[in-house]
C-alpha cells in the first residue's frame, strides 16, 4: 500500500492524474473484481463495506472511544452519535424484518451465561486495544500499527471462541428473545426509541466535558451515513451488519488449510459453515463487507492525508495488543457479536441480547480503561 501511496503521489506530482481520481479508481476496480468473481450481490456488499469504512474513518467514529470519553470525562458526543445511528437503523430494520421474515433475518442471539461473560470481557479488552470490532478493522485498514497487531489474534480468537461455543452454551441459555415477541413490532420500535431517548437525556444532563474531540456535526452526519449503509447491508445481504463471524471464518479457513477437519465441530461442522469454509471468502457476505471496510478506511485516510498515524508502542504494549486481540475475538464469539453484530445490529433487530451486551460491555469498559492506563497507552 506504500507503493500505491507513492504511485498516487508521483502521478499527482506529474499532473497526469489527480490523487483522488486514483483512489476512486482503486475502489471501482475492487468493486468490478468482486462483482466478476463473486457476483452482483457481493459487489454491492463490497461497496457497502467501503461506505462503512469511509464513514468510520472520516470522523474517527469510535464506539470504544465514545464510551471511554464518557466514562473518563463525561463527554456525551460519541455515545449520542451511537444512539442516533442505532435508532435510525432500528426504526427501519425491525418493521422490514417483520414484514419479510423469509428474506431478511435479524441479529438475534440467545440470552446466555456466555453472553454476559463474553460481553464484559470484550468491553474490557476493547478499551485496552482502543478498538472494538469495527474500530480494529478500520484502524488496521488505515495503517494503525496497534490495530494491525491486534487483527491476527482477533481472527484466531473468533475462530476458537466459535469452536467452543457449544461448551459455553451448556452453562445456561434462555435462547434468543426479541422485544417484539413480547409487545409487538410497533411497540418494540417505540419502546426502544424511548430507552435511547431516556439514555440520551441522562448522558447529556450528566455531561462535564464541553470541548469534545469530535468538532462540528461531522460525527452525527457519519452516524446517519452508518445507519444508511447498515440498512443497505440488511437489504442486500438479507442479514444485519456483522464483523466477527467473518474474522472467525478466516481463522477456520486457515485452520482447515493447515489440515484441521471442521466436520466434527459443533459450530464449524454445521452445513452453512462447512460450505463457507470450502468457498472463497469473497463469497461470504460478512467477509466481503469486512474487506470493503478495510479498503474504505484506507482510501478515506489517504484522501484526507491521515493514513499511517504516529505510534511507537513499547514491547509490553505490543505483547498486550497481540494477546488482547485474541481475547477480543474469543469473547465476541461468546457474546454473539461485537459492538456491531450484537450492540448495533442486535438492538436494531430488537434482540434483547443486544441490550444485555451493551450493559455488560459498558461495565467491562470501566475495568478496561484502568488496565489501559496501567499499560501506558495514550488517549
Amino acid at each position: 500500500m506504500a507503493a500505491i501511496e507513492g504511485s498516487v503521489r508521483a502521478l499527482s506530482a506529474g499532473g497526469r492524474l489527480p490523487r483522488r481520481v486514483l483512489l476512486v479508481a482503486v475502489v471501482v476496480a475492487g468493486w468490478m473484481l468482486t462483482t466478476w468473481f463473486a457476483g452482483l450481490r457481493q459487489g454491492l456488499l463490497f461497496l457497502v463495506g467501503v461506505g462503512l469504512g469511509g464513514a468510520l474513518a472520516s470522523v474517527a467514529f469510535g464506539f470504544t472511544t465514545g464510551w471511554r470519553v464518557w466514562i473518563r470525562q463525561r463527554d456525551p458526543t460519541g455515545l449520542l452519535a451511537q444512539f442516533l445511528a442505532i435508532s435510525l437503523a432500528m426504526v427501519v430494520s425491525i418493521p422490514l424484518i417483520a414484514t419479510h421474515p423469509q428474506e431478511l433475518t435479524g441479529a438475534v442471539g440467545p440470552l446466555s451465561v456466555s453472553l454476559v461473560v463474553g460481553a464484559f470481557v470484550f468491553g474490557a479488552a476493547m478499551q485496552v486495544t482502543d478498538g472494538c470490532g469495527s474500530g480494529t478493522l478500520y484502524k488496521a485498514g488505515l495503517g494503525n500499527v496497534i490495530s494491525i497487531a491486534v487483527l491476527p489474534g482477533f481472527v484466531a480468537g473468533s475462530f476458537l471462541g466459535a469452536a467452543q461455543l457449544d461448551w459455553w452454551l451448556r452453562l445456561g441459555s434462555l435462547g434468543p428473545l426479541t422485544v417484539q415477541q413480547f409487545i409487538g413490532t410497533r411497540l418494540a420500535v417505540v419502546a426502544q426509541l424511548g430507552v435511547f431517548a431516556v439514555l440520551s437525556v441522562l448522558v447529556w444532563r450528566a455531561r462535564k466535558q464541553l470541548h469534545t474531540r469530535w468538532q462540528g456535526r461531522g460525527i452525527f452526519i457519519a452516524a446517519v451515513v452508518l445507519a444508511a449503509f447498515a440498512l443497505a447491508n440488511l437489504v442486500v445481504a438479507g442479514q444485519p451488519w456483522g464483523i466477527v463471524y467473518g474474522l472467525g471464518l478466516w481463522g477456520a479457513k486457515i485452520a482447515s488449510a493447515l489440515g484441521w477437519d471442521p466436520s466434527g465441530n459443533a459450530y464449524w461442522g454445521r452445513a452453512p459453515q462447512l460450505a463457507q469454509i470450502a468457498a472463497p471468502l469473497v463469497d461470504d457476505v460478512t467477509s466481503i463487507t469486512n474487506l470493503g471496510l478495510l479498503l474504505g478506511s484506507l482510501v478515506v485516510a489517504l484522501w484526507r492525508g491521515q493514513a499511517f498515524p504516529p505510534a511507537a508502542p513499547t514491547a509490553a504494549q505490543w505483547i498486550a495488543s497481540i494477546a488482547t486481540g485474541f481475547v477480543l475475538g474469543y469473547s465476541a464469539r461468546l457474546a454473539f457479536g461485537c459492538n456491531i453484530g450484537a450492540y448495533f445490529s442486535g438492538i436494531s433487530s430488537g434482540s434483547l441480547h443486544g441490550w444485555v451486551w451493551f450493559a455488560c460491555a459498558f461495565a467491562g469498559s470501566t475495568v478496561g480503561i484502568r488496565l489501559r492506563e496501567r499499560l501506558g497507552f495514550k488517549g
Binding site: 501511496e5 450481490r41 428474506e103 433475518t105 442471539g109 434468543p176 468457498a279 460478512t286 493514513a307
Partner: protein, 62 residues
C-alpha cells in the same frame, strides 16, 4: 516503528500479506457463485431466504 517510513512499511506489509491470503483462498476455494445464474443483487424482494448460518449470532448445532 516510530518513524513514518517504518509505519508505512509495516502497513504495506500488512496489505501485501492480506491480499496474498485472499488470493490464495480464492485459488483454493470452490466458488458458490455462478455468474450465468445470478440471483437478484439484493435479498429483499428476492423470495429467497437469507443464509441463516453466516452471522455473529449463529449458534452451534445441539
Amino acid at each position: 516503528m516510530g518513524t513514518p517510513r517504518r509505519r508505512t512499511a509495516f502497513a504495506a506489509l500488512f496489505w501485501v500479506v492480506f491480499t496474498l491470503l485472499v488470493l490464495a483462498d480464492w485459488v483454493r476455494g470452490a466458488p458458490l457463485h455462478n455468474r450465468f445464474d445470478e440471483p437478484l443483487p439484493w435479498a429483499l424482494g428476492s423470495g429467497i431466504g437469507s443464509d441463516k448460518g453466516a452471522h455473529c449470532t449463529a449458534v452451534p448445532r445441539k
